[in-house]
Amino acid sequence: MIPELGHFALILALCLAIVQAIFPLIGSLNNTPGWVNLAKPAAMGQFFFLAIAFAALVQSFIANDFSVLYVAQHGNTQLPLVYKISAVWGAHEGSLLLWALILGTWTLAVSLFSRSLPAEMLARVLAIMGMISIGFLSFMLFTSNPFERLIPAALEGGELNPLLQDFGLAIHPPMLYMGYVGLSVAFSFAIAALIGGKLDTAWARWSRPWTLIAWVFLTIGITLGSWWAYYELGWGGWWFWDPVENASFMPWLAGTALIHSLAVTEKRGAFRRWTVLLALMAFSLSLLGTFLVRSGVLTSVHAFASDPERGLFILVFLSVVIGGSLVLYAWRAPDIPKGGGFSMLSRESLLLGNNLLLIVTLAFVLLGTLAPLLYEAMGWGKISVGFPYFNKMFVMLMPLMVLIMAAGPLTRWKQQNPDTLLKNLRLPFIISIVSGIIVALPAISGSLSAGIAVALSVWLLTTLLTSARQRLRNKNLSAIAHDIANRGGRSYYGMWLAHIGIAVFIIGITFVTQFDVEKDIRMSPGQEVSLNDFVFRFEGVEPKKGANYQSQFGTMRVLKNNKEIAILHPEKRTYQVQKKPMTEAGINAGFLRDIYVSLGEPLGKGDWSLRLYYKPFVRWIWLGGLLIAAGGFLAASDPRYRMKVARKFKPGAQSNQSSTVLAGNA
């Protein structure tokens, strides 16, 4: 009964999506307020039925209803509750339902939090989101119904893929989908603005917070995915340039370009066509990712069960959405007025430069991801593009990006006097070069890469400090608090935080690749091995029973200066149903280093092959990701996006009081 309710709710949600897509749009074009006003209730109703459908699938998993095919495939009575719930989005059909629910959530949020938006603009935005929803809901109902019955019912379920039975992966897809689907808001705003023919600074201002929030989720999702790969795959790597990872990285690159371009359009009215194109591109790349992952055209470690029929459906949908939006762009873009001009050296030109670099990176990633497909389609044979290609690309483009990025906040809009800029950059430049050289010295590290990384990070840090000094000059603490509380301030501090995140990230990736130490070794129980300053004492492996798996549970004591600092438990698990051996690394995490132990193979008489790692600064990779996300969040929370009526300022309150706290800095 409950699965049928869920199925029925999905059908009703599709009906409401059709209403939401058609009537408000037509109403907005021929001025029929009654039709325009349908948008909000339709969006709410759609969300309501999607929530029911989702709840029905969750309930089917919790109740072990193996008469539902999807539950029989991926559920199991022995699964812990949290994985019964995360199994809902553990495979194709259910993850689509999650996708649809999240789209419904974003639609609801837009309809609730856009009171400052003109009614017909809101109607158009919701109509576009309704169209996207139609695509996904009919995809689900016609090719991938999660509520399909299995008769006769199975006695026991096929279990969630053991790789996904992990807390990180339980929350990774919802975060990632929040990001992917959130980009549909920016997309819909862009289409609505193109339909209305008004791409002005108001449009940029409405789009900005939504785009930022979506991008924050995407950042968190990617960071979580990388962290999961690190601790779960037992190989110590944190990014594999796998097609599915690339599928999430490409919208992120486009989204990063978009949030910067939107800033220019909002502040200066420039780059309008470029911004609108980026908004179309970011969401299109999310859809492309969906296609690549679910159609089976590329082989990936993450691949969902591939199915050409599904692939064709998504491709047609993709063509309608992306093709349609680009036709609209080609039709409307020539009439978009040019924004404010700017000179060769200005914040606009630097932002444009970095935008182009981001898009070049994106093009390389896209090319590398699709190259196997391209080679085969053209009959050139087969090719696999691996690590070296992507790493080389990244190592070449990243430093350029950082060089420009650091100068951005110190450069004025419209026109910048080169002499002043050079004067401001001189000290940061000297400090970063000197610190880079010091780090690269043979006595310190002897690594040129580490030197360059430190120089780049210090360059970012020092320029950001210079910029903050200029902003905070002659301000005391309460003035700074004002700055953060009021309009405009948080975008700046958000940028600051996110750029610091990049500096931290650069240190993390470079140091861990340059200085990690690993040792593969055969150990007998009681044996000791040293690695750097650490002594590892192997206590052996014993069988242990987990909730739904059998574990070979290892124990390793880690000592430093004869003091025990950690007891690690690397495991090998065999899950009951799928029998796949899973490695669980034993990790002692630290701010400056991780100690990472994973179990290899049993070698008889209690001996095991073991892999020991010392991974310096590896946490900085994810710390950087989180700082970037936090910066985005801070920027999105800027009150100027929410206030219809300007808050009353007390002019003078910020500047009259003399600054004692910051006098030393200024």
């Binding site: 795959l233 190989w235 594999f240 796998d242 194109l277 179309l280 591109m281 299109s284 492309l288 296609f291 159609s295 089976g296 055209v297 590329l298 082989t299 470690v301 050409p308 692939g311 064709l312 491709l315 993709l318 063509s319 992306i322 093709g323 680009l326 036709v327 762009y329 080609a330 873009a333 020539p334 699709l370 196997p372 497909l373 391209l374 080679y375 085969e376 389609a377 044979g381 087969k382 090719i383 696999s384 691996g386 690590f387 070296p388 690993e518 593969d520 055969r522 796949k580 051996p581 994973s598 290899g600 193979e601 092959s609 892999r611």
Partner: protein, 179 residues
């Protein structure tokens, strides 16, 4: 160039991409006929990973129906294929490896870490032998019969299903014949 064409460029780019994706749907990335099927295994002689003083050659593949698996430590799909090879090795079918464009310490670590399903591994640092075998990417797996003739090629990681449905039946059949 007329002005409006510039604004159509994104659309053209997308159409090209969509055509490619459409072609992609009709191609199975895992199935490609190899011109080598039915021909003797290409000659090679390479030091083994396990002991560089011992050479592995195409002659070692003869006399028994064997698998010839091309892999590398930089290949993520190989990492996922590995447990399948481990299981396959337990059935007693000889598996020989070609460690393709790799480096020695990494490859040795891989085998101690994840287990060694191979009878022996040829270490093809430059990828020259891989070229003769028509290797485009890793992993790839060939079935070589008792006379050293290539009978089958699987592209992409072996999975339990592939092994059960394609590999094992063919091996059984080849083991039964004198050919």
């Amino acid at each position: 160039m007329p002005r409006f064409i510039r604004f159509l460029l994104p659309l053209f780019a997308f159409l090209a991409l969509a055509t490619l994706l459409y072609r992609g749907l009709s191609i199975d990335p895992k199935r490609v006929p190899s011109p080598l099927i039915g021909k003797p295994a290409p000659a090679f002689s390479l030091p083994t990973l396990e002991n560089p003083e011992i050479q592995l050659s195409q002659n070692d593949l003869k006399n028994e129906v064997s698998l010839f698996n091309v892999w590398a430590t930089w290949c993520v799909a190989c990492r996922h294929e590995h447990p399948v090879l481990m299981q396959l090795a337990q059935t007693g079918i000889p598996i020989y490896g070609l460690d393709y464009k790799d480096n020695l310490p990494d490859a040795r670590r891989w085998l101690t870490q994840f287990g060694n399903p191979y009878r022996a591994n040829a270490f093809d640092e430059e990828g020259r032998v891989g070229i003769n075998w028509g290797v485009y990417g890793t992993p790839e797996t060939f079935i070589v019969d008792k006379k050293g003739i290539i009978r089958h090629k699987h592209i992409g990681p072996l999975t339990s299903e592939v092994v059960k449905n394609d590999i094992l039946p063919l091996i059984k059949q080849l083991q039964g014949t004198d050919g």
